[in-house]
Structure formats: C-alpha cells, structure tokens
C-alpha cells in the first residue's frame, strides 16, 4: 500500500478512559492504515475496542494521544463544529439498531444528511431517490420505519449513509439485529457499494459469515491487532 492509497491512517494512537479515579487503557500506540476502496471487517471479543476504533475513525471520539489523518488531513484536533462538517462530507454511519427517526418517512430519513448541503429541494429529492434505488427500496419512500421490517430499515439506514456520497462507511454490527437472510441482503448491498461505487468500508462484526464479505479481517484483542492482521 503506497501512501497515496491510504485513506485513513492512525499513528501511535492512545485511548484511555477515566472511570471513578481508575484509568482504563483501550489502545496504546495503535497504528493502522486503511486503503481507499478497502472493505475491512473488524472482529474481536467484547471490550476489545472495536466500537472505540469506529468512533475514532468517524471523528466522534478523540484519541488521548497520537494522530488520525483522513486523506492526509489531520482530524483529531479539529474543533467540534469543523469535525461535524468533516463528518457530513466524508463519513457514513450504519448502526446495529438502524437509528432512524421514527417520525420521518424513509425518504425523509435518507434526506437528513442532505440538509447539511447546499443542494436545492429538487436535487435532494433526486439524490434520495437514487440512494433508495441502490438499496432496492424506491417503492418504500413514503413508508415510516414502523411500517418496515428490520432488514428494510437497515437498508434505509444504508441509503442515508451513502446519500451524501461519503468516502468512508463505518458499520457497527450492521447485521447484528437481523436474521441470516436479511443479513445476507445487507452484506450484499455493502459489497456492492464497495465494489461498484468504490466506498471504503470498515465493519465491526461478531459474525464470521459477515466478515467473509470483507476483503480482509482485522482481529482486535485488548486494544491490539493480531500479528496476522499486521502482516496482511
């Protein structure tokens, strides 16, 4: 991997939490490079730091030490308002429990990130329709989350994550709440986004079957990647 290929680079990242006078170290001198167009599955036991890694990559948490660069730009020191702007432009989040707004239709949920852009109403509608078409939910645009299955809600969440055309998708157990069939559908969509649309994806999962959809798998344990991952 050349430095030009690297989309995200973590260098000597420490992450510590203080909980009632006790300091818990999650990462110590963690290094990671994610290439543009990669699809990485992150696996590991509970408490290994998988979600914290996603938070750091997505700029919703800050490292205690070290640096994080996205496309060469250092993001760990950005003030909150600039970080929010950066997230809106570069990151798409997909959560285990979908996290859709219950009072908004599928189309309105997908439109949310576009409210942060300068796009007009017509352009926004076109982008929303396209995003829903990618996840095969064009016919459900006017449906509310309560009127859809778990798999459909997760597809809406994926459409919301990609509608603003971010470079990096961060998925936290995206199939953790779904049955096998629905999970496979979601994973196929993610693979499509990676292969056809060039999205870089980092997916945290406990499911080895889900990890098989990724191009490579990182095993995280006690805040460190296993040796074979580093070799990879």
């Amino acid at each position: 991997m050349t430095s030009d290929d690297v989309l995200v680079r973590l260098t000597a990242v420490d992450k510590r939490f203080t909980k009632s006078k006790e300091t818990i170290t999650i990462f110590e001198k963690l290094d990671l490079a994610i290439a543009s167009g990669d699809f990485i599955a992150v696996m590991g036991p509970s408490g290994s730091g998988k979600t914290t890694l996603l938070n750091l990559l997505g700029g919703i948490d800050r490292p205690s030490a070290g640096e994080i660069r996205f496309a060469g730009e250092r993001i760990d020191g950005l003030p909150e308002s600039r970080l929010a702007h950066w997230r809106a432009g570069h990151i798409g989040f997909i959560f285990q429990f979908y996290n859709l707004m219950p009072m908004l239709t599928a189309a309105q949920n997908v439109e949310l990130p576009l409210l942060l852009t300068s796009l007009g109403g017509k352009d926004r509608r076109r982008r929303v329709e396209a995003a829903l078409a990618v996840v095969n939910l064009a016919d459900r645009a006017r449906h509310y989350p309560r009127e859809m299955s778990g798999g459909q809600q997760q597809r809406v969440a994926i459409a919301r994550a990609v509608v603003a055309d971010p470079g990096l998708l961060l998925c936290d157990e995206p199939t953790g709440d779904l049955d096998r069939s629905n999970a496979d559908e979601i994973l196929e969509v993610l693979r499509l986004l990676n292969r056809e649309m060039g999205k870089t994806i980092v997916m945290v999962t406990h499911d080895p079957a889900a990890a098989k959809y990724a191009k490579r798998t990182l095993h995280l344990d006690k805040g460190r990647f296993s040796e074979r991952d580093l070799a990879a």
Binding site: I60, A84, H85, A88, Q108, L115, R160
Partner: protein, 386 residues
C-alpha cells in the same frame, strides 16, 4: 424537508402531549390578554390624562360639592388657560338598573378642555351649545342604546329631583361624540349645567368639581397651590391635583388592580413555564439517541441548539398566538357587557406585541437548557457505544 418541518415533526411526534402543552400555553395567553386589557382599561384614565389638566375637588371628598363662584375665581388665577366644571348627575334610563354616566357641564368650556379626547362634529357642537335641553351622547353609549341625533331621552337621577317633584329630565340628542383614541371612554351623556341647575330642587349653584388646563405643565404645582390657598379656611376647601393623580386615586379605591393582574398572570406563567420546561427537558431526554445520530450525520452543535430552541419557540407561538386571538375575541365580547363599569376595554396592538415578546421569552426560557444539553451531548456516550 427543511429545518422548520423537522422541528414541527419532532414537536408533534407525541400528538396528545403537544396538544396539551399548546392548550396550556393558549390558556395562559388568554388569561394574559383579557387581564391586561382589563387593567389597561381600568387605568386608562391615568394613562390618558393630559399633563396640563388639573382637577379641583372638595378637600373633604370628591363627592362633596363646591360653590359655583369658585369657577369664576379660578378663571382669574395666573397660569390657568381654561376652566370648566361638571356635576355628577347619578343618571339612569327608564329603570335604576339602566345606570348611565351623566354629567351636567358648562358646554363651551367643557368641549374646549376635552377637545383632544372627543371628536365632536361642528354641527353637533353648534347644536349642543345652542339648545338648552340638548345632550351630547358618547359613541359607545349611543351604539349600545341605539340612540341617534334627534331622539328625545327621558333621563332620571338617583340623586336629584326637580322643583316640580319629578325625577325625569327630558333631553334631546344633538350630537354623538366619538373618542379620539380607543381607550377613551365614550359611554356618557353630557348636558347643560344651566338646565340642570335651574330645574333641580336642591343644591342650586353648587358644582361637583372644576377641571382646568394650565398654560404649561411646568406651572401645575404653582396653580394648584394658588387655587387651594385661595379657598383655604372656607366652608369648602379644595384639593387640587393633576388629572393623572386624581384618576389614579379614583382607581385605587377599587384596590391595586395592576398588582392583582400581575400576580394572576405571573402565577399562570410560572406554572406554564414549569410545565413546558419540564416537558421540553423530558422530550429531549427521550431523544438523546436521535440527537446523537443527527450529530453523527454531521449536524453541528449550533444547528442542534437551533432545532431544539426552534421546537420550544414553535410550541410557544402555536399556543400563544391562538391564545391572544381568543383573548381579543373575549375582550370584544366583554367590552359590551362591561361598558358601564370598565369602558374602553380593547385589545390594543401594544398588548399583542407584548404577548408575542412573552411568547418568544417563554420559548427561549423553556428551551434553552434542553437545547444546551443537546448541543453538548457526547455522541459516543449517547449512542451507548463506549
């Protein structure tokens, strides 16, 4: 979709709760509108009093009369521009329950002194001055009773009787006096003092009070002192004060209406503030995860603050605007019923503007703490991911 539609969607996600809060706020502003209009009308005399107008009453009590001779003597005081006088007639129409505000006045000087408050057409003015039994009727009273120019009015008195033993004074409506401003009372009849004085069975050549204008408000004190000194140690000593002070003292007989209104409105608002503030805080607590998702999507802190504050402001306006609208309707309905007691009760633009300012204040106060806590929300903690 826009931020406003997002705010509205959030506000009405629990329709019953939103409706109950809107009704609560609406009730508070209904109470506010009616009570403030009442208080304004009640104190209108004080607010509308001319700075250069003084009232001269009997020092014992303003219900005690003064000799007519005082009228001529006060005219000669330095600094006095115009003087007029009036008697409280204690009038009623047909039956005592049909109470009327009737004053026996010296027509020419009275119209001059109240020229800024009353709009009297020239022909009505001429007719009033020339017809001894002519009466000038205020517009509100004329509308209420359906009286028009040319009507003959038998007006009785609960105080006075005529020399012939009768209690009814026959008068002819010669003109309708319109108020120059909304709060000015036009629920009255004025008629000739001469007609009244020559026919009444007692109290001849006594007047109720004097009203005078000075050459400048700067000489008010001097004129008042001169007038009171002029009649000191007489059988009818005088107390001279500004019209504003007189009206204030008159209104104060009924208690401190302004304080009562402030207490009632204040209690209503504090209650609403607590209810809405608590509900807004609860609503934001319930949506912590959704707010965290919005921040994750890239909504900056300031925009989160605006969304929550927008919600509390929208709530305050949705409750407050219909509330003040209902208050305007209620005031219009009460205006007729309270015409004899609180004339000039209207929903003025300044009350409506004050209400809107209060709505915005209510929205900001109830929303600011939840909005700040939403703005400062830690995404990772809120998503329960760390």
């Amino acid at each position: 979709m826009t931020d406003v539609s997002l705010i509205a969607r959030n506000l009405f996600r629990k329709k019953l709760r939103a409706a109950l809060m809107i009704v609560s706020i609406m009730t508070a502003f209904l109470i506010f509108g009616v009570l403030v209009a009442f208080e304004h009308a009640f104190n209108a005399g004080e607010d509308l009093a001319a700075a250069d107008r003084l009232m001269v009453v009997n020092k014992i009590n303003f219900t005690q009369p003064l000799p007519y001779a005082y009228y001529e003597r006060v005219k000669a005081v330095e600094g006095v521009r115009q003087v007029s006088h009036a008697n409280w007639f204690g009038g009623y129409y047909q039956e005592p329950k049909n109470f009327l505000i009737v004053l026996a006045v010296e027509p020419e000087s009275y119209l001059k002194i109240y020229d800024r408050e009353l709009d009297v057409p020239d022909d009505a003015r001429r007719a009033f001055l020339s017809e001894r039994t002519g009466a000038l009727v205020g517009e509100a009273l004329a509308q209420d009773k359906g009286w028009k120019v040319g009507d003959r009015l038998p007006v009785s008195s609960t105080i006075y009787s005529q020399k012939n033993g009768g209690h009814v004074w026959e008068m002819t409506v010669v003109g309708i006096a319109k108020p120059a401003k909304p709060h000015i009372d036009s629920n009255f009849i004025v008629f000739h003092y001469d007609y009244f004085n020559e026919t009444r069975s007692f109290g001849k050549d006594m007047i109720g009070w004097l009203v005078l204008t000075t050459t400048s408000p700067a000489v008010n004190d001097k004129v008042a002192k001169t007038v009171d000194a002029m009649f000191a140690n007489s059988t009818a000593e005088t107390a001279t004060d500004t019209e504003k002070a007189f009206n204030k003292a008159f209104a104060a007989q009924f208690g401190n209406i302004a304080l009562i209104v402030k207490l009632v409105v204040g209690a209503a608002f504090v209650t609403i503030l607590m209810i809405v503030g608590n509900t807004m805080a609860m609503a934001v607590r319930e949506r912590v995860r959704e707010i965290a998702v919005l921040k994750t999507l890239g909504f900056p802190p300031a925009r989160i603050l605006r969304l929550i504050l927008g919600e509390s402001l929208l709530l305050a306006l949705l409750g407050g605007l219909p509330g003040i609208g209902l208050a305007a309707l209620a005031v219009a309905a009460l205006r007729e019923k309270l015409l004899n007691f609180i004339p000039g009760m209207v929903m003025t633009p300044d009350i409506a503007v004050l209400a809107v300012v209060l709505m915005l204040g209510l929205g900001l106060v109830t929303g600011i703490i939840p909005a700040f806590s939403a703005m400062r929300l830690n995404i990772a903690s809120a998503l329960g991911r760390s």
